[in-house]
């Protein structure tokens, strides 16, 4: 079993693992020749299936070998991995490989950095001479020291070892990506920082509302309180986020968003499939100003869980949300890349609560 890759885009990889970590502490990582799939399946809340192309985006010179069709399944603690990756943010190069020590499998990151610490010795002597005539002679003398202070000698090698668990193909054979019916509405989400700040605010309101009703306020109870947000979208570029309680009904509406056209090659049944597609029917309902009560596909989500999902905004990718009315919300987060083909995508499955 062999896996080795150099990490080309450390910052994206770090942001990715940090985003995934907010949903759960452990990831199932399936490494194969063409892609690395990071999956989080928490006991409760949103699932993520992240497919990364091994050829571009994050890795470089990616090699994998295993007895099971060159597929390796690992269980990886994301907190440790994120922490390890963070120490590579300023690195000149970083690589990751699967190894074993004392019979414990590890993901070992080797990070080469150059220290940014204050220079000393040679630097002090050269700058210390204010006389420009002497500078040359001094520099010559201190030459070796200068090299060691700024040359390759100053490289520091950091090795971070993250313990992992190797999963057998049987263990993971029962894990499948959720299936969902064709969505009623698909829409490009507004910048996630906007959406996150508003949904966070609504969630707070929901908590305060629950507190004043609940009587004695205990912080522990906060975690068990329900913070339902209602999210809806139509096929005319409108997105609505609202919170309802006995005392209030607040909503924010975005208009002028785009509803991407469906690609006939991706839809079951081609052109015919698109004509029959639920979203085609939804197009006939509702209006672009968001005032009409018709044509909305609605889901009820948990505010706190949604806050964790929004953590993916740090990656800065475009996000398409697919609404299955009263059933589920699926987010496709596309990692920014240059060539525009075969993008790496993170899929979030957010389920809708009935009430």
């Amino acid at each position: 079993m062999r896996f080795k890759a150099s990490i080309q885009n450390i910052s994206t990889f770090t942001k990715l693992t940090a985003s995934l970590n907010s949903l759960g502490p452990l990831a199932w990582v399936k490494l194969s020749e063409n892609q690395a799939c990071f999956t989080i399946i928490p006991e409760q809340g949103t699932q993520v299936w992240a497919y990364l192309r091994t050829q571009d985006t994050i890795f470089e010179s990616y090699t994998i070998q295993s007895a099971a069709d060159n597929i390796i399944n690992l269980e990886v603690p994301l907190t440790s991995l994120t922490r390890a990756l963070k120490s590579a943010l300023q690195a000149t190069s970083a690589s990751i490989r699967l190894t074993k020590k004392d019979n414990i499998p590890l993901l070992a990151l080797t990070i080469v950095t150059t220290s940014s610490g204050t220079s000393r010795g040679a630097f002090g002597t050269t700058t210390g001479t204010s006389n420009p005539d002497d500078a040359f002679g001094d520099e010559h003398e201190a030459g070796t020291g200068f090299d060691s202070a700024f040359g390759r000698d100053r490289e520091t090698i950091v090795t971070q070892e993250v313990p992992v668990r190797v999963l057998s193909p049987e263990t993971v054979s029962g894990l499948h990506e959720p299936r969902c019916r064709e969505p009623d509405v698909h829409i490009m989400l507004p910048p996630l920082i906007q959406l996150k700040s508003i949904s966070d605010r609504f969630t707070k309101l929901a908590l305060v509302g629950a507190k004043s009703v609940g009587g004695s306020t205990v912080t522990a109870a906060v975690s068990s309180q329900r913070t339902r947000l209602e999210m809806a979208a139509n096929m005319h570029g409108c997105l609505r986020l609202s919170i309802q309680s006995d005392a209030m009904n607040i909503s924010s509406v975005w208009t002028g968003l785009s509803n991407p056209e469906l690609d006939p090659s991706q839809v079951l049944g081609g052109e015919e499939g698109i004509r029959e597609h639920p979203s085609t029917r939804m197009k006939e309902l509702g209006s672009a100003d968001g005032r009409s009560e018709e044509g909305w596909a609605t889901v009820r989500i948990d505010g706190k869980d949604w806050g964790k999902v929004m953590s993916v905004g740090r990656l800065g990718g475009k996000v398409i949300a697919c609404f299955c009315h009263e059933h589920a919300l699926i987010l496709y987060v596309y990692l920014p890349n240059d060539n525009g083909m075969d993008e790496s995508v993170l899929t979030y499955y957010v389920s809708s609560y009935s009430a």
Partner: protein, 429 residues
């Protein structure tokens, strides 16, 4: 009777704060030893495996310093022990901060009230603030015999020194919950490895903290003169505490050691301060330690009670049996007040301030807003601003649950609920 008083500039008071933060990571109580010419703060950890000492020069560090011990000539001293947290809460951070105009101090005057004709013995600290405000703190103290670690620098053939800022960078790579630090040199590189020795199996393995090795060229050291291929193992927590403090002084740190299972000393100096740490080490000459091999708790450092009283027999024993077996911690309790199980709480109340050049800060700041909100300790809770309503804090508030809850007993940011329940109105009729 003792005459002991000194005056600190705001900068020196801030330095005292840094010292106390560092000492608090070693022990719950700080020992103070005043001599005619210098003041020494020391702490010894509960397992007697780590000792920290900060020696402040009477003339250089203080703007005024006077110590006339009641007995003895030049060797006379005044010693006492104070609870670290009490002292730390007096020397809060940002004492010399020009921005905090209201809290900035002009000078700090410390004196000891220790006279037979007074009923109270107190350690008195006066913070003379700007705008004519003087804060006076009177702390209780206990008389202690100050223990000092003995360290023979002549036998410590291995020595190196390095800029503290570099070490600060290295410790930032370490995982947050690791316990041991292994210092090892080989082929022109010094390797600092932070790890935790725990035997785990199954799923527990995934909870194992990071194992981090930082390999540094010995040419990055100012001086490196140490034997290769020996493992010196100390506690990461101690090392971090030392490095973080050394970095506040932007000085270079020196290390002296002889061999594994013998004490190691770190020291550094800065304007009128001499800082010294003696740590017990574990480790071996051979290959990397096996998971069960090296003891996870370093042995006790070599200690001697350097009190004016004669040396006690126990401490002489300790010097003979070096490295000694574990001795019940109760031995140390005669000189310190400590709550059981408090060792875990000696975390700095003020986390080390992040270096502006720190490795993680830029990314974290930018990244932070993406983290899910923790609603449990949110400062920005929605509520009424009841500050104008003086009654609100005094009268009990009725709640639907029927219990009488004083609003003041709740988190002040909660405020009053925006609506009044119908059941309450009924109750009032």
């Amino acid at each position: 009777m003792v005459t002991f008083n000194f005056v600190l500039t705001p900068e020196a008071a801030a330095r005292i704060h840094d010292i106390l933060v560092c000492l608090a990571k070693f022990s719950d109580s700080v020992s103070i030893e005043a001599r005619r010419d210098k003041l020494v703060f020391t702490a010894l950890n509960s397992s007697n495996s780590a000792y920290a000492s900060f020696s402040l020069d009477g003339k250089k560090f203080f703007s005024q310093y006077e110590c006339l011990p009641s007995n003895g000539g030049t060797e006379g001293r005044f010693t006492c022990g104070i609870y670290s947290k009490a002292l730390l809460s007096v020397f809060k951070g940002r004492l010399d901060d020009a921005r905090g105009k209201d809290t900035a101090i002009d000078r700090c005057e410390v004196s000891v009230q220790d006279r037979p004709d007074q009923t109270e013995c107190r350690f008195v600290i006066k913070m003379v603030c700007k705008q004519g405000v003087t804060k006076t703190y009177k702390l209780t103290y206990e008389s202690v015999e100050v223990m000092h670690a003995l360290f023979d620098q002549n036998s410590a053939k291995n020595r190196w020194s390095i800029q503290s800022s570099l070490l600060k960078e290295y410790i930032e790579y370490f995982g947050p919950k690791t316990e041991q630090l292994d210092i090892y040199a080989e082929e022109g590189r010094a390797v600092f490895t932070s790890y935790t020795e725990k035997i785990m199996n199954g799923k527990e393995i995934l909870k194992h903290p990071l194992h981090t090795a930082v390999a540094v060229n010995t040419s990055d050291f100012e001086e490196f003169n140490a034997q290769e291929k020996i493992h010196i193992i100390i506690s990461v927590k101690d090392f971090k505490a030392i490095v973080i403090h050394a970095d506040t002084l932007k000085t270079s740190l020196k290390a002296f050691y002889s061999q594994p299972n013998r004490p190691l000393q770190f020291s550094y100096t800065s304007a009128g301060m001499y800082c010294e740490f003696t740590l017990m080490t574990a480790g071996d000459y051979t290959e990397a330690p096996t998971p069960s091999g090296a003891p996870s708790i370093p042995g006790r450092a070599n200690l001697r009670a350097q009190s004016a009283a004669s040396e006690r027999p126990e401490s002489r024993n300790m010097r003979l049996e070096m490295p000694p077996p574990a001795v019940p911690a109760s031995r140390a309790s005669n000189r310190r007040l400590r709550k059981p199980g408090s060792a875990k709480r000696v975390i700095s109340p003020k986390p080390a301030e992040a270096d502006p050049d720190s490795l993680f800060v830029p990314a974290d700041e930018e990244d932070h807003r993406w983290d899910p909100v923790d609603y449990r300790n949110s400062e920005e809770t929605l509520g009424w601003d009841a500050s104008g309503d003086s009654d609100a804090g005094i009268h009990p508030t009725f709640r639907d649950s029927g219990s009488l809850a004083r609003t003041e007993s709740e988190d002040s940011t909660d405020g009053l609920a925006p609506t009044q329940r119908i059941s309450q109105i009924k109750g009032l009729w």
